[in-house]
Symmetry: D4
Subunit: 234 residues, 8 copies
């Protein structure tokens, strides 16, 4: 094959390798999944369109937990699932942000992170946010997903103390087409200490949150020599 | 001279002609002001830098009410000043937005509009806005001036019923340089019915508000045949 | 469901909540409409493509007044329809601007605003505008919709005294692709006091006009405590 | 020297070579002018800032007809001046467009073209244009110079039959900064058959007009074999 | 109907009205054509895709001269065809530029202009241009159509004396996508006096050339009072 | 004054308020500092140019710890300094990135965070990074500052497990002018879980890191009721 | 036909003419191939989509060596194939870069260049590059193909001495859409002496490498008078 | 010091380390030069403005060969100068391109490469190029420097067989400001096998050419183990 999975990434930097399905053929994806099944390794597949999912063949499809909204599939591993000690809130501005938010949620859940979703909290109806702000504040990390003008990033940034990861969603017309307006708002926010990932990159936001889980680990655990030592509970 | 003042604009569309100083020499500006003094016409000068103001010569300078922050100068007319029946709130996100906000305020005041300023109400400290929101709601029209990510436009848009004019301020670093991020946020807002003018255009926002004053006039007054008929008081 | 209608918006800021169909599935839209029918609430649906309209199912479709040009559907409420005291002119530059203009017209009509359309008045044939300018001047508010270079915004701005809302239409080739040239012309106009909304945002222009209706209300009516108090007639 | 004047251009394509001063040192410019004086060739210098003009030295300066507004200098030749059979109107939107317009006017005058200027005819006051439109129509070619949103290009394009060359001026704030909005309007105009040159390129517009003079020449004169044959009068 | 043909444009500015089919339905186009047939007026239709052409119905299709490459259709008028005294060369850089070039050619031919095409003369093989340069020089006006980097505009501009209209073609990958690179090259050319129209605007280039035909008319013919007086031969 | 310090921010979200000097006059800055001195509050001033620093007056200057490279000034408070339990590495690609990096370092040090700088580790000489990678890995959080193409973000992202905050520096010529290329590289990185702030925003990166310190606090400490409760040591 | 093959290019500059299929119809392509077969000339076809390949007709298809990944087809010539003395490495960042890389590889192989592919060497897993770097160093020229942020260009540039041609691949989401981020990284690299071609231009990169083969030729061979003299081995 | 010279780069990849003066203080530059003098190493300094050059102090200045046009300084080493076996032509479009071209020339000369300059060969006067083309063809590598529309890159690319490195110069007004138009033309050229570096990057173009010198070395010399082995002559 013309590519190699980086199965060592989990051990090297604590983030499991995943399959980005967009540029791969059904045959290539099925082959990697088959290899993973043989190894007993759990695998996350992202950007897997429904048609490509179907094209993997019934045998392969049967082994996958597929979610069409986020276009993610999960192959369970043979061992006990991972359970990273982290509690993440995912706040979305509107319904159109759900595919991106769900990609983040599924990526986190794949690694055993606790996820709570706070959907449809746009600032145009500020009361929606205010009703939930105390709950949102109680999590370790907050991921906010919004398209259009992304004003929620700044409002949240001024109200919570936790790390805040802004994920611009590819949602908007005219000047906001493609999510660029939301990205700009995340980067230029008047609220300080907001972090951003690329437009639509729920997967990246999840991995960024997972990097922060290291800060909660017991002091003696400071290298990723092998998978077992990675602060797993479970 | 290579240009002519449109002294008829007041009668034609209810908006007084003004002098945009940026592209005019001190000699040209002084000549127009001299002509206006002779006619007894009140004149507003915008984008008048302090150096250019000084270069108008002491005689001319003495007749002007000059404000360096907004770079505006006002020449009083010989008759009673105009007093347009309109009550406008001007909300600013931060100190850097003041030059733009003050240009709007001075333009409105020049035509006798009642103006109340609500400075430094950025959404990063939402309590600042919440403390004043009832007061802001009480005005006929709200002009909001903000640079950086301009999140305040959306928050305000969801809280007030009045016409809301967003003025992006040329304030911001990196991706927000020049005020483009704030402009995009104004246009792409998830709160509906927000209107926008060009970056830094406090003058234009003021004139847009003044157009709305027509809606408050008694029913019989529907054309601008001459200046006196323009719903003036005082 | 992952989203909640902001049924209180009408009471809070005088603008009825609407359903932006683009990011919602037929099932989600049908569910909200069913809820609205049960409540007897009138609802406007925007950006509803013909296919999605059909996919709502015959039962739902029968209750809707659907217009494919503007991609809007209206569900009538159980009470007397709203009748906001406002008289709006909608001027369009060319035939390609009609979908955007009609979205504005239908949004206004939904709230009982009087609307007059002035179609196909491009400045390339200035006589078309000049023939109608007296009529256009007679309205409370003027909404102008134009794509390509949007020159009509400036020409109108110099001829009328009413509030002028420019709606750039997503019409144009090459450098004007997507309506960005028309937007820029609206914002950079040499005629002062022109206001702009996002490209193609007829709905937003209508809501902006409706905010101005407040200026015509009797003096004692200054808050939106409940729906009945909202300056309704009829 | 590291560059060579293309003295043959006049003979080859009918357009006299000129000195673009921006990227040349005073010493280099003075040397070319000295060479031209020796040859008795008339020369036009463009983009010559006042400081650079002064730096040419008194001897050189004395031989030049310098205009600081357009930043052009003209060295007269030893023979009879050229007199191209062409009658051009130059229309400007506002005072800030004058440097660009004057560069075009001086370039045309240098080759003996008849030029009439129509200054300060912005569409925000349409009556200014309407008062002069019959006069403007009477010329062979019309050059229109405008910054900001450049709406005048479309209005003129619909009113005149002559070739219309739009010159976007580097005038405007915010979204119109640098003249890009005016350029876009020229290219995307709804009036057909409008031609454009680069922002601020008055020199190029003049040369484009001069190319059209060929169409007026007697039929037998169809090549530029040498300077004398170039349809000169005088 | 929501639009009106500007049948007076021919008389007003010498350019016949045309139907831009892109934003019109087959029904609307067929109706205008039917009206034109009744009046005996010749009509040019542009941007008419093959499917839309077919959708006009067999009766309408039979009356049209349709060219799928340029997506233009011509309805002959009842009188003698127009024959404008103008001789135009159309030079193209490559095969992909043909649709744009042919739109210009058909627009010119519709008004009786003499057109000669010089296809596939890209500068990467300079000999192709050099073989034809003498022929190209012999025309009244040269229209050059090129995508990608548009280098041919500058090369031609330095070799010919005639008016040169650059038409950027929407051809190119990566940084040249959509024809923007070619447009920029046309505007920024180091050869002076080159004129440009919008990307892909063969129709506009043709009309611009037709405006120049006025310069060739006998001196007494200086207004477009009616169609017959428009310098027609034939 | 037209602005109010948000002295409650520390208690609300754990991030001390700071003075962004860019849009404030020396008089305004001196007044706030005077107020802070009276309250005994420590204050960080950012974007304070040397000239503006001098203009604060000798009395004010004497109380400040000023660093011209980062353009930051620190006013010590009356109580014991804060000492947040966090250990941050700051990696820079080259010397030009130092102003941005030092702003981050001084912002962190102001709140008692332990900071280690790893200067001049560009990927063009990969050995520089490889020599230090083990040390870099040992920190809680890594802030990487780079201009030009920002390749170091991706290389670091694949080598370390800690949270990685990319700060694009406003460094680069041509296509990389202003730091936009580095920003794009941070957002589009093929290494997953990288977070970004705006160009040149060392202050924001520091605050983002400080938000992560919450993850290291003892479990019972979950709200910022007052300053003392904020997980301080020392 | 409206275009002519530049069969002389091989002799003029050593690069064989090729057919860029994108803007040509199947009929046009088949005609050129038929002409080439008659002449016994080998031809490379690029950007030939599978559908267009099929549309060439079975007779033509049978004579072609077609590769759908790179969308290239090769028609063998009648003589001995060319064998240019050059040894090129092609490094790719990920699987999505393969179509571009393979276009380069096939273009090189068509001229007899020795090609070695190093697939899937992204810098997120630096060990993949480090394992192969000694091999990569051994080639005459290195072509690197990468999308997204293109960090591999800089890393490679600091590790190898050979000419390095960066080919940005049209791969990436959000801010990296279309390959522009990778292009910018190639141009702005902190590693010196890196060269770039347009996004996705594997063909151009191959031809650029082939130009370098001239440097390896024996000293006496310095012009391309005819094909045989072109340093062929065979 | 906060940075370290990469003195090993010469041995590692054959390109000598240089000092990019832009982001360094005079003190830092003087210190590195002092270190280099002590080691007897020759050093090239780029982007050294005349003021910064003077600020190095008389002692340092006396040891440097400084050229203000290219803003480069050269410190001679103690050994015999390098003499790389390579013969490069540098072609420039106009006088404004000289600073960039000279930076390339001085960088090449520093490493002993033979350089021939062909100044002021713009395509607007094609004869200038045609007069020199045979000479230009005789060099190993051609570097072309051009601003504005950069048409010369394509013309040259079709005429020469040697490797062609396009260097866009930061020269141009309006749409060509900053050199972006020339860059786009280089990348999008219809002539195949053209390579590009960043705008104004004469240094990078020179290093790219120097990488090609490796192709001329005797076969046995394939690694840069130490400086002596680097194919030096003299």
């Amino acid at each position: 094959m013309d590519f190699k999975m980086d199965w060592q990434r989990q051990d090297r930097i604590g983030l499991p390798e995943a399959i980005h399905a967009q540029s791969k053929s059904p045959e290539q994806i099925a082959a990697v999944l088959s290899e993973a099944r043989a190894l007993g390794v759990a695998v996350l597949v992202t950007r897997l369109d429904p048609e490509k999912h179907r094209a993997l063949g019934p045998e392969c499809v049967d082994t996958l937990d597929y979610d069409p909204l986020s276009r993610t599939a999960i192959l369970a591993g043979s061992g006990a699932p991972q359970a990273l000690d982290l509690d993440v809130a995912i706040v979305t501005g509107g319904l159109a942000d759900m595919p991106t938010a769900r990609e983040a949620a599924r990526t986190l859940a794949f690694s055993g992170v606790t996820v709570t979703e706070y959907p449809d909290i746009g600032v145009a109806g500020l009361w929606r946010l205010m009703e939930r702000i105390e709950d949102i504040r109680s999590h370790d990390v907050v991921i906010a997903v919004a398209g259009m003008e992304g004003a929620i990033f700044s409002v949240l940034g001024g109200l919570i103390a936790a790390p805040l990861i802004a994920v611009p969603a590819p949602v908007g017309d005219g000047v906001a087409e493609g999510g660029h307006a939301a990205l700009t708002s995340a980067l230029a926010s008047c609220a300080s200490g907001i972090l951003s990932v690329n437009i639509g990159n729920g997967f990246g936001a999840a991995h960024a949150a997972m990097r922060m889980a290291r800060l909660k680990r017991p002091a003696g655990c400071d290298r990723y020599l092998n998978r077992d030592s990675y602060c797993l509970r479970g």
